[in-house]
Amino acid sequence: MTEATAAIPAAVKVEAPPPELERQPLVLNQRPLGWITDHIAGVAEGKTPKWWWVAFGISAPTMVMCFVMIAYLISTGVGVWGLNHPVAWAWDITNFVFWIGIGHAGTLISAILFLLRQRWRTSINRAAEAMTIFAVMCAGIFPLIHVGRAWFAWWLLPIPTSNSLWPQFCSPLEWDVFAVSTYFTVSLLFWYMGLVPDLAVMRDRATNKLKQILYGLFALGWRASNRHWSNYEKAYLLLAGLSTPLVLSVHSIVSFDFAVSQLPGWHTTIFPPYFVAGAIFSGFGMVLTLLVPLRSVCNLQEIVTTRHVELMCKVVLATGSIVGYAYGMEFFIAWYGGNPYELDAFRFRAFGPYWWAYWIMITCNVISPQLFWFKKIRTNMVAVFIISIVVNIGMWFERFVIIATTLAREFMPANWGYFSPTMVDILTFVGTFGLFMTLFLLFMRFLPMIAICEVKGITPQADPHHPLGGAGKGGHH
């Protein structure tokens, strides 16, 4: 570096920023591009580590349990869950909103942060997008199976029939069908498209025929030509543009499931932004939960650096504060609005039979992320990991509080009730974690979990003007 700067005349020489203000590099230790490829692809190519087998050995049976529970549910009746009158939705929709919320971080990172030129996104976007897809799959299960006659769930699709039976387009559940399926489709495409250059890398590095064929098949003949790159970049930008409104729309529409109804506690206009903020909050929580341990077991600390973790913590802090504000605002409006039913609904939330759920939610979602004001905590991986889990617990409770406590006590006291989950409720939910983790473990074993080409793109040497930059100098691209 000194060699290069010496050649510049003193007049145009810019003072180097003091070391404390210098941006931390996104890839530490000035690793060469080849090292990056080797390192990331190595996670998928190397021998399957023991911890993977252990994790898989836990998650796969859990996933099977989920399917057994679903089979029991569908064959026997929704009554195997703890639902009742008046609480006709509880863990089913709670889990749906919870998983959908988690699915928010991926697309936010890949689309919005891309458009905002947040270069740090490259280290985490692949894993986050995969997480999104798997989370939306887990989420999608619940609306499908929670209906009384799951074998007719396809009636929600707008399929023209000979007797002109269409779905009811006024229903927010119908909007959900479109919102979630669109979101899933676009997220999947976005993720896959981003994978194409890396699949080509995997193909080129393949050690046996089978891998070569399979990776080659999915790499769609990628040869990294300039034309390919040019088309790729354009498509990526377009998809990012398409996905951005989806990030906001999906959870807004999910929130309409509640906001459009007329129950005190559901019928509020604050829900769409509050749900979106909550979703990003929980999504980043889940990204942290996954990446913090992964970066150490897979030796990716140089690519997913402390700076990355810190930045994500800051997002968690910001969205957590928005969520906290929304909680407060709900109470304020309940009081200010002068509707006694509304006021009672919020009174019951905080001090009614589900007070414990409410205060768990407040502790986890409002208080715990405030710890991220402290750099010490943001950079302490154990603390971050714990808080990220707490955030997700809190966000699950938020959905539970909104759904179950509202339904349990609304207009007519004679009809008030209480929801308690059954083992089937619990095991189905736990089972979806099995599904999620199984898919994620398979993903990291077979696909590069960090976008190799994108990470390379943000290394200093990727800049053609960089002394180490330019084609041919930094290993294959």
Binding site: G79, G82, G148, L156, L165, M412, P413
Partner: protein, 1114 residues
């Protein structure tokens, strides 16, 4: 819907049309026709797996029996259709038959719907002179007993099945033996009955077998009314309370709305005197003195809670005051002073109530309940006599004493070893005889016990012979209703299991020539009507009663000396205490005395006071519980504490004179202190699949275990909590307080007079009043979605008068019967999954010690702007142009969003296949064995229609269904439809009638608007249904009343069912009347939260003209 044509007398001469099967029976064509059973649809019916298989057999046997192909020579036992002639019988179109539901010494006149030979729905006979077509919950549910798979189905000797013929041979032998010994050693134990034929048979048998003894036992016996009146007036009479003629009614533990005989009749008369539509309308006033919180207490304007034993003191004090004010029966006053002593604490209450009674004079009415001793009854009669009410508000009907001695006498006979053959007809003494009697042991002392019973129950054990009894819908019989009118009990179906009737058994034992019940009943009819004509008989069967056969009231003069002598024997009763509790045994609102224990509809109909299902409990007042260190009261919820929405109540042991029982404690607000309430009719050790819970334990505990004799209450009980023991109870309502919300809107008569529109001022502002929502031309908020086009010919609507509604639950059972609503079992009710389409909300207001109760039946309100419709993603719930909120079961996928968005929560979801699974197999997966020992999945592949229900149950279950209403499968939402099937039937009938005239609109003038099942069953006529597009309809008129309001109207749901606010009529001079807050307690609670709708809204009342109240829409 029922079009009742005038009876068609068939001329004896002139052309004869065939109208009975026998007339055609001899023709070979007809024989062939019968063999083919259903010529028109024979091919489709031959498939043994069709659901009509069983019906077919039933119908066939019915026809064959009538034809005499089984050996009879001539037809008898013919059923006269009530409205439609056989030649007009259309397959699938129901027929209606008049019959009666005999219960104890009375009967309810009925019209029963029959679908293709199987009775499906019971309704009251509104042509009967003393009926408005209403029934009580027991009559409604009695049809389910007919289809009870657990009923006795075979003749048994010592437990082994025998043929019917063998049993009849046995009876013939018995008859011969009895005739030889003149009935020596032969004892009959019967239930009470009003059947003239049984009376006649008893008399005949008494002649033929003079040594035979007759005994009658009823665990809940209303005969005391007759006994007391007979004693008081010195002639054989029974009192008939004309509540509609009374202005002030005082009940001395007389639960005439719920537990007394013929409550449906009392409710009708009581409600008649309480119809208040305008402030100037007259309204009766009800004072209730009672220990338990009864339905009558719930409807009281003033309620005094005292221990049952102290009712006597209150009665005495009241009588003293009445005698003093009226100056009559002064000679009795001396005897009363001592008796009245314990009533000191309630002096003012009693004095003012007496003053109010006396002020009304002949319009006053005092009634004593069956649980009270003779002295209280006599005091009531004396007071009525002093008031001049005898012959007016209380009439005396001739009532000869029934033949039969008491159970105690029979016990003595048995102990003395004097009983050779004991014939037990009905009843269940082994279960419900006083525990002190140890009946099972006594019964074994008879040399042989022959039992005719509906169930093989506790009494059936150890019987030499057990004969299955026919259901009343399978039997020929007769009965007398409360007013003495003769009514027929005619069968609608041949005995499904070949059971015998009481009349037949008696006739056979008597060795009479005629043993067929039909002949016996006809013979009685001939005697009573004095007419042997066929037409008279036919008219009797057609109308369902014998006109002008009602008993003529007689004049009566109080026999003061007789009263005085009984009073002189009465002892003052001390107040109970924590270590000397008073136990009150009461007739259960659900299982009666235990006879409906195996009836799922009744087991699942919540007790209207406690809201408990499938259980009874040890009821205690909050103060008693506190004194006994029993926790579990939730002051805020005004009820028992819940743990996560479930009741796990403490179990206590109750001891009374050495007899013990244990059961869960239920803290019942409003009960008298140191009183323990025990519902009879639970805890059966030998009952069917319904009477036992899923775990095999009986539903509830047996309260008879504490009884020493026939007393209905006793002092000296001690209660100890069993540490750690808990029992889960299933209540359909967990929260008892209305939380100051304007759900039931109540006011006192004065409030109503001052502000008749008070109910409309109690809602929140509707969205129409807010500035930010645009309004349409009518001033209603502009909808986002297009509203349903309500341009149908009719516009259906309903009004529920909360002043009239007494909370009797008849509507709930009627709806269950009409609409094929399944039962779900205790475990599911506890979870909140009961399926009843009608919810009867019961709220307490005021203190938990002495609260007021208010009832509100809530069903689908058919909102014009229905929140459920816009959220259904598959268009399964939609609106029709006549204003009905429809539910398309076929289209429903079961997202349950509609239920969530319904502010009234009236939608019910089938969490399991309740219709096709036994209650204890709801959670079974398809890979487990079902009750028939088959893997469920395999069964499903073979017969997807059947479900896990055992075959015997399934066959009967199918018969009980109303074929006009879809049986819903699991995963489907359901709710009240305004009895859509009845509307459609009525429309079709009207169209058929209209032909080319085009007059197809249903209207009330020609009676073509059908009644909904709940409306039809309601004895109080609190439910009015009709066409609100017709300005002359009753419902339109009611909707215009000032106190008509929409529930949660501010949500702009615009419900088609609206409520008339409840008006109470308290006496301002009573001590429990708070002059500072002279309103019903619910209104006080509302005012403390929202301000008064009566005063502060005076200004708002003017505003009304600018903004018409949206909550009171239509």
């Amino acid at each position: 819907m029922k079009t009742i044509p005038p009876p068609c007398p068939e001329p004896e001469s002139g052309p004869k049309y065939w109208r009975s099967l026998d007339q055609l029976a001899d023709t070979p064509e007809f024989r062939e026709w019968v063999e083919r059973e259903f010529p028109s649809g024979a091919s489709e019916l031959t498939d043994p797996t069709t659901r009509r298989h069983f019906v077919k057999i039933m119908s066939a046997s019915f026809l064959l029996a009538g034809l005499g192909l089984t050996g009879c020579r001539r037809p008898e036992e013919r059923i006269m259709p009530h409205s439609k002639m056989p030649e007009n019988q259309v397959h699938g179109v129901p027929q209606y038959f008049a019959t009666a539901f005999p219960l104890r010494a009375s009967a309810t006149p009925l019209v029963v719907t029959s679908h293709d030979g199987r009775p499906t729905k019971i309704e009251g006979n509104d042509r009967h002179p003393d009926s408005n077509g209403a029934t009580d919950q027991f009559a409604q549910a009695s049809i389910l007993n007919l289809y009870d798979p657990d009923r006795a189905i075979s003749f048994r000797q010592g437990g082994h099945a025998k043929s019917r013929e063998q049993a009849l041979d046995m009876l013939t032998e018995l008859a011969a033996k009895a005739a030889a010994s003149q009935g020596q050693g032969l004892c009959f134990l019967l239930e009470r009955s009003s059947s003239p034929t049984r009376e006649r048979l008893q008399a005949r048998l008494a002649q033929k077998l003079p040594q035979a003894r007759w005994f009658v036992y009823e665990p809940v016996d209303f005969d005391i009314h007759r006994q007391a009146a007979t004693l008081a007036f010195g002639q054989p009479v029974a009192p008939a309370n004309k509540l509609d003629a009374a202005k002030v009614i005082l009940s001395l533990d007389h639960d005439f709305i719920g537990a007394e005989e013929d409550s449906w009749l009392n409710v009708r008369r009581f409600a008649k005197g309480r119809k208040i539509h305008r402030p100037e309308d007259e309204m009766n006033r009800l004072y209730v003195v009672e220990a338990l919180y009864s339905l009558t207490g719930a409807n009281a304007d003033h309620r005094l809670r005292v221990a049952s034993g102290l009712v006597q003191a209150v009665a005495a004090r009241l009588a003293m005051e009445v005698f003093k004010l009226t100056g009559k029966h002064a000679e009795l006053a001396n005897a009363l002073a001592a008796l009245a002593e314990p009533a000191k604490p309630w002096e003012k209450w009693i004095v003012e109530a007496a003053a109010d009674l006396v002020k009304q004079g002949a319009g006053g009415l005092v009634m004593a309940g069956y649980r009270q001793p003779l002295a209280v009854h006599l005091l009531a009669h004396a007071m009525n006599s002093a008031l001049g009410a005898v012959g007016r508000a209380v009439q005396l009907l001739p009532a000869p004493p029934p033949a039969g001695e008491s159970l105690e006498k029979l016990a003595a006979e048995l102990n003395a070893g004097k009983v050779d053959t004991l014939v037990i007809v009905g009843g269940n003494p082994a279960y419900n005889a006083p525990a002190a009697m140890e009946w099972p042991k006594l019964q074994a002392k008879a040399k042989a016990v022959i039992r005719l019973g509906y169930y093989e129950d506790e009494t059936a054990e150890g019987c030499a012979w057990h004969l299955p009894m026919a259901h009343y819908l399978e039997s020929w019989g007769d009965a007398r209703t409360a007013d003495g009118t003769l009514v027929p009990v005619q069968p609608l179906i041949n005995p499904i299991f070949g059971g015998l009737t009481e009349l037949e058994v008696l006739a056979r034992i008597g060795g009479l020539a005629a043993t067929r019940p039909y002949d016996l009943v006809r013979e009685t009819f001939r005697e009573l009507s004095g007419s042997a004509e066929e037409n008279a008989w036919r008219k009797f069967l057609h109308d369902g009663f014998l006109a002008h056969s009602a008993a003529k009231p007689v004049a009566g003069q109080l026999q003061a000396s007789a009263v005085a002598s009984v009073l002189s024997e009465a002892k003052p009763v001390a107040a109970p205490g924590a270590q000397n509790l008073e136990v009150v045994f009461y007739r259960s609102y659900s299982t009666d005395d235990g006879r409906f224990n195996n009836n799922g509809w009744l087991q699942e109909t919540p007790d209207p006071i406690t809201k408990l299902t499938w259980d009874n409990a040890i009821l205690l007042s909050p103060k008693t519980a506190q004194a006994l260190n029993i926790g579990g009261l939730d002051e805020k919820a005004k009820g028992n504490k819940t743990e996560k929405g479930l009741f796990f109540n403490q179990v206590a042991a109750l001891e009374l004179n050495g007899r013990k029982l244990s059961g869960p404690v239920w803290i019942q607000p409003g009960m008298a202190d140191f009183v323990v309430g025990l519902a009879l009719g639970y805890g059966r050790t030998k009952t069917g699949r319904i009477g036992r819970l899923a775990d095999g334990s009986p539903a509830g505990f047996n309260a008879y275990a504490l009884k020493a004799g026939t007393e209905a209450h006793a002092q000296g009980a001690r209660l100890t909590v069993l540490p750690g023991a808990r029992r889960q109870l299933a209540s359909t309502q967990e929260h008892g307080s209305m939380e100051g919300r304007p759900l039931i809107r109540e006011a006192n008569k004065e409030d109503f007079a001052r502000t008749p529109t008070f109910a409309r001022h109690m809602d929140l502002d509707s969205p129409a009043h807010t500035g930010h929502i645009a309004n349409d031309a009518q001033g209603n908020p502009k909808p986002i979605y297009p509203r349903p086009q309500l341009n149908g010919m009719h516009q259906w609507g309903m009004v529920v008068d909360l002043t009239s509604c007494v909370g009797c639950t008849a509507c709930m059972v009627a709806c269950q019967s009409e609409n094929n609503i399944p039962i779900v079992g205790k475990e599911q009710v506890a979870k909140g999954r009961e399926m009843s389409w009608v919810r009867l909300d019961r709220y307490y207001a005021g203190t938990v010690e002495d609260p007021q109760i208010a009832y509100q039946p809530v069903f689908c309100l058919h909102c014009e702007n229905a929140p459920c419709e816009s959220v259904c993603p598959v268009n399964a719930t939609v609106h029709d142009d006549e204003g009905l909120n429809l539910m398309t079961y076929n289209r429903c996928v079961g997202t349950r969003y509609c239920s969530n968005n319904c502010p009234y929560k009236v939608r019910r979801f089938n969490f399991f296949d309740y219709n096709r699974r036994p209650l204890d197999q709801l959670y079974r997966s398809p890979f487990s064995l079902n009750k028939d020992g088959q893997v469920e999945a395999v069964r499903w592949l073979k017969d997807p229609d059947k479900g896990t229900v055992p075959a015997d149950q399934w066959d009967l279950l199918k018969l009980a269904r109303n074929p006009d209403v879809t049986v819903r499968m699991r995963g489907v939402m359901e709710k009240c439809t305004y009895c859509l099937q009845r509307l459609e039937q009525a429309k079709i009938a009207k169209k058929v009638k209209a032909r080319a005239s085009g007059d197809v609109r249903l209207n009330e003038r020609d009676g073509s608007v059908p009644k909904t099942a709940c409306q039809q069953a309601c004895p109080a006529e609190a439910i009015t249904f009709g066409d609100i597009a017709d300005p002359d309809s009753q419902v339109s008129k009611l909707k215009k009343l000032p106190h008509n309001y929409s529930l949660l109207g501010f949500l702009d749901t615009r419900p088609r069912t609206t409520y008339l606010a409840r008006i109470r009529n308290p006496n301002p001079r009573m001590p429990d009347y708070d002059a500072r807050r002279p309103h019903p307690q619910t209104l006080n609670e509302y005012i403390s939260r929202h301000g008064s709708p009566l005063e502060s809204h005076g200004a708002k009342g003017k505003k009304e003209s600018v903004h018409p109240p949206k909550g009171a829409h239509q």
